[in-house]
C-alpha cells in the first residue's frame, strides 16, 4: 500500500511518539503526554498501542498481535491486518518468533527476552482516576508522590470484603516511585511485569505513553498481612494440562458444563504439540 507512509504514520509523528517513548523509558512508570493522532480505528480499540507499535516497527520486525491472550480474536486480527497492509512486516503467532508484540489484556505466558518489545493497549492510564476524576489533581498527586488515597482504597476493600477487590488492572509501584496502571491485565500477570523485554504502554484517547524498562522493579501494591495474591482459576488447562497458566472459562452446554483452557492460545498449542494432554484432549489414536 503505497498511499500511506511505512506503518501509516508520517515520520514527524513517529519521531514525536519516539520522543515520548524515550522519555517514558527514562522515567519508568511516569505518564508522558503525547499528541495522539486520530487513527483509522476507533479510540478505545487500541489506538495508543497502534501508535506506539507504528513508532517502533522497522521493516525487519516480526509482529505478533494478541487480544485476551489469543491471536485470532477479532480486534487482534484487525490490528495485525492493519500493519500487514501499511507496514508490510512479517507477522507471527509464536511468541518466541516475534520482535514486537502488541497486546490487550494479557502478558504472554512464555518468558520474553531482551530482544522483544511488548506494547500494551491502555484504556485509562491513570491508576488514580477512579479515586480522583480530575487530571489536574492526579498529576499533582503523582508529582508529590501522594499515594495515600490508593492505600486507603485497598485497605477499605479488605475491611469490607476481606480481600483487595481488584482483579485486573491491579496497581503497581514502578522502581519505588510512580504508581502505575499495568493496563487491564489480570493480576495473575502482574509478576511478569518484571521482564528483560521493553514494555511500552500507549493510551491514544487519553494521550499518554509510559514504559517499564527491562529489569525494572515492579511491585504490586499490598500490605504485609495481606500480601498480593496473583490468583487464577483453580484448574489445569483442559487441553494441554498446564496448571501454571491463566485460564478462560468456556461454557460448553446449557446444563452448567464448562471447561477451562489457556487464554494464551499460542502457548497452549505449542504445549499440545509437545505432547501435553488435558482432561478433554482428543484421545490418542493408536499408532
Amino acid at each position: 500500500m503505497s498511499d500511506y507512509n511505512f506503518a501509516y504514520l508520517d515520520e514527524q509523528t513517529k519521531r514525536m511518539i519516539r520522543r515520548a517513548i524515550l522519555k517514558g523509558i527514562a522515567v519508568p512508570g511516569y505518564q508522558v503526554p503525547f499528541a495522539s493522532r486520530e487513527m483509522p480505528m476507533p479510540y478505545g480499540w487500541g489506538t495508543g498501542g497502534v501508535q506506539v507499535t507504528a513508532a517502533c516497527l522497522t521493516p525487519e520486525d516480526t509482529l505478533k498481535v494478541i487480544d485476551q491472550g489469543a491471536d485470532d480474536t477479532t480486534n487482534a486480527v484487525s490490528i495485525r491486518k492493519f500493519f500487514e497492509k501499511t507496514a508490510d512486516v512479517a507477522t507471527t503467532e509464536h511468541t518466541d518468533k516475534a520482535s514486537v508484540i502488541q497486546t490487550r489484556h494479557r502478558i504472554p505466558e512464555a518468558p520474553l527476552t531482551s530482544d522483544q518489545i511488548l506494547v500494551y493497549q491502555v484504556p485509562i492510564p491513570e491508576p488514580l482516576r477512579f479515586l480522583e476524576p480530575r487530571e489536574t489533581e492526579t498529576r499533582k498527586m503523582h508529582a508529590l508522590e501522594e499515594y495515600g488515597l490508593m492505600h486507603v482504597k485497598l485497605y477499605e476493600d479488605i475491611a469490607r470484603h476481606g480481600n483487595i477487590a481488584t482483579a485486573y488492572a491491579y496497581p503497581v509501584k514502578v522502581e519505588g516511585r510512580y504508581v502505575m496502571d499495568p493496563s487491564p491485565i489480570p493480576k495473575f500477570d502482574n509478576p511478569k511485569l518484571e521482564s528483560p523485554a521493553i514494555q511500552l504502554f500507549g493510551a491514544g484517547r487519553e494521550q499518554r505513553i509510559y514504559a517499564i524498562p527491562p529489569h525494572t522493579k515492579v511491585v504490586s501494591l499490598d500490605f504485609e498481612d495481606y500480601p498480593f495474591d496473583p490468583s487464577k482459576a483453580d484448574h489445569p488447562c483442559d487441553l494441554c494440562g498446564a496448571s501454571h497458566t491463566y485460564l478462560d472459562e468456556v461454557i460448553t452446554d446449557d446444563a452448567g458444563g464448562r471447561m477451562f483452557v489457556c487464554s494464551d492460545t499460542d502457548y497452549c498449542a505449542s504445549r499440545q504439540a509437545q505432547g501435553h494432554r488435558g482432561r478433554l484432549s482428543p484421545k490418542e489414536t493408536a499408532a
Partner: protein, 362 residues
C-alpha cells in the same frame, strides 16, 4: 468438543461484505450520488465538516454515503482522513466582519445597520410534514431580489463604542493546536474554543441548555448571528503578500450576556463566542453559551460547581469520536478481565457465606 475459536479473520471479511450490501440497500432503487448528498443533505454535510474539522463538502458527502447516514461515523472517517493530510501552512485569520451574509440577525436590537436578514431558516416554518416532497414534485422557484452590497458592521461594536461590553483583548500569540499538542489543563480560551467548535453538537447543546436552566446561568442574548461566506487568505512567502485561496461558509454567533460585575470587573455586558464551519447555527449558539460559562474565572465570577463551568469536564467529554470509541469498545472481548472478576466474586462470596453459616450456627 470445544475447538478454540478460529476464523476471526473470515468473520471480519464477511461482516464487511454484508455491511457494504446493507449500505447499498435495495438495488432496484437508484443509488445516491455524492452530489445529491452534498446539495440536498447540506446541513448533514455541514455538521460533518464542522465536527470533522475539515472543510470539504464533497468528502463530507462521501463520508455520509459510506457511513449509511451515521453522522458520527462520517465525522470519524473525515477525522481519520484529515490526520493523514500534510500541513502546507496557515491561513491568515478570516475576517467575519467582511462576511457575505446569507443570514444575519440580532435579537438585541430591532434594527441595525445592515438590517436583519432572515435567510434560509427553519425558524418560522410550521413543522408540518410536506407530503409534496414525498411526491418528488418540483419546488416552485423562490422570489429573488437585487443583491444588497451593504456593510454589516458587528452589533457588539455598537455596544463596545459606549464601553458597555467587555472588551476582548487583542493578542498576536500563536494559539495552541489541539490536534498537534496533547490537551493540557487549564486550557486558554483559544484552546477551549477549538475543542468546542469540533465538539459533539448534542453534547455542546446539552451543556448550553443546562446553563439556561440554571446550572451556571449567564443570561445570554443573541447579540448577533451571521451565516455566510468569507475569503480565506494565505501569506505566500514567495510573493510576500496574502492571496485568496478560497471561500468557506461559516456560522458566527456572538452572545451578549448580562453581567452585574464582580470583585474584579465593573458592571457591563460580557460575551460568549461561537464559530463553526458551514450553516450550523444550533452548534454556534450552543458554543457561545458554553464559552461564556467557561469564562467565570477570567471575569471573577463564582464557580457554582455547575457542569458547564467545569473546563476539564466539558472539554474532556465534548469530542464524540473519543466518546463513541471508548463507549463502544466495551463490545470488544473482555473475557480475561471478566474471568478475573468471576474468580474474585466466587472467593469473596464463599467467604461471606461461610461467615453467615457460622453466625447462624452460633
Amino acid at each position: 468438543m470445544y475447538v478454540a475459536v478460529k476464523g476471526g479473520e473470515r468473520a471480519i471479511d464477511n461482516a464487511h461484505d454484508w455491511l457494504a450490501e446493507e449500505r447499498r440497500g435495495d438495488t432496484s432503487i437508484a443509488e445516491l450520488s455524492i452530489a445529491q448528498i452534498r446539495e440536498q443533505l447540506s446541513l448533514a454535510v455541514n455538521r460533518v465538516m464542522a465536527e470533522g474539522s475539515l472543510y470539504d463538502p464533497d468528502l463530507a458527502a462521501l463520508a455520509i454515503k459510506q457511513s449509511r447516514g451515521d453522522l458520527i461515523e462520517a465525522i470519524f472517517l473525515i477525522r481519520a482522513y484529515r490526520t493523514t493530510l500534510p500541513r502546507i501552512g496557515h491561513s491568515t485569520p478570516v475576517d467575519t466582519g467582511a462576511m457575505a451574509c446569507d443570514r444575519r440577525i440580532s435579537a438585541t436590537f430591532k434594527d441595525a445597520p445592515g438590517g436583519q436578514v432572515l435567510g434560509p431558516t427553519f425558524d418560522y416554518t410550521h413543522r408540518l410534514l410536506d407530503f409534496k416532497l414525498a411526491a418528488e414534485g418540483e419546488v416552485p422557484e423562490a422570489a429573488t431580489g437585487e443583491a444588497q452590497e451593504r456593510d454589516m458592521p458587528r452589533i457588539t461594536d455598537f455596544l463596545n463604542r459606549e464601553g458597555l461590553i467587555q472588551d476582548e483583548v487583542r493578542s498576536d500569540e500563536t494559539p495552541p493546536d489541539m490536534t498537534r499538542q496533547p490537551m493540557d489543563y487549564p486550557a486558554n480560551r483559544a484552546l477551549r474554543l477549538q475543542a468546542l467548535t469540533r465538539g459533539d453538537e448534542g453534547f455542546v447543546l446539552g451543556m448550553a441548555y443546562s446553563t439556561q436552566r440554571g446550572y451556571g446561568r449567564n443570561h445570554p442574548f443573541v447579540g448577533e448571528l451571521r451565516i455566510g461566506t468569507v475569503a480565506v487568505e494565505m501569506d505566500i512567502p514567495e510573493l510576500g503578500f496574502a492571496i485568496d485561496i478560497g471561500e468557506i461558509t461559516l456560522t458566527e454567533c456572538e452572545t451578549v450576556n448580562q453581567f452585574m460585575g464582580s470583585k474584579t470587573e465593573p458592571p457591563q455586558f460580557t460575551r460568549g463566542y461561537g464559530l463553526t464551519f458551514g450553516q450550523t447555527e444550533r452548534k454556534a449558539i450552543s458554543m457561545a453559551l458554553v464559552d461564556r460559562a467557561l469564562r467565570w474565572k477570567e471575569l471573577g465570577e463564582d464557580n457554582e460547581g455547575a457542569p458547564a463551568q467545569d473546563e476539564e469536564f466539558v472539554l474532556s467529554h465534548a469530542d464524540n469520536i473519543q466518546a463513541t470509541g471508548f463507549l463502544e469498545h466495551i463490545k470488544l472481548p473482555h473475557y480475561v478481565d471478566f474471568q478475573s472478576e468471576l474468580e474474585l466474586i466466587r472467593k469473596v462470596r464463599a467467604e461471606a457465606m461461610a461467615h453467615q453459616h457460622k453466625e447462624a450456627a452460633e
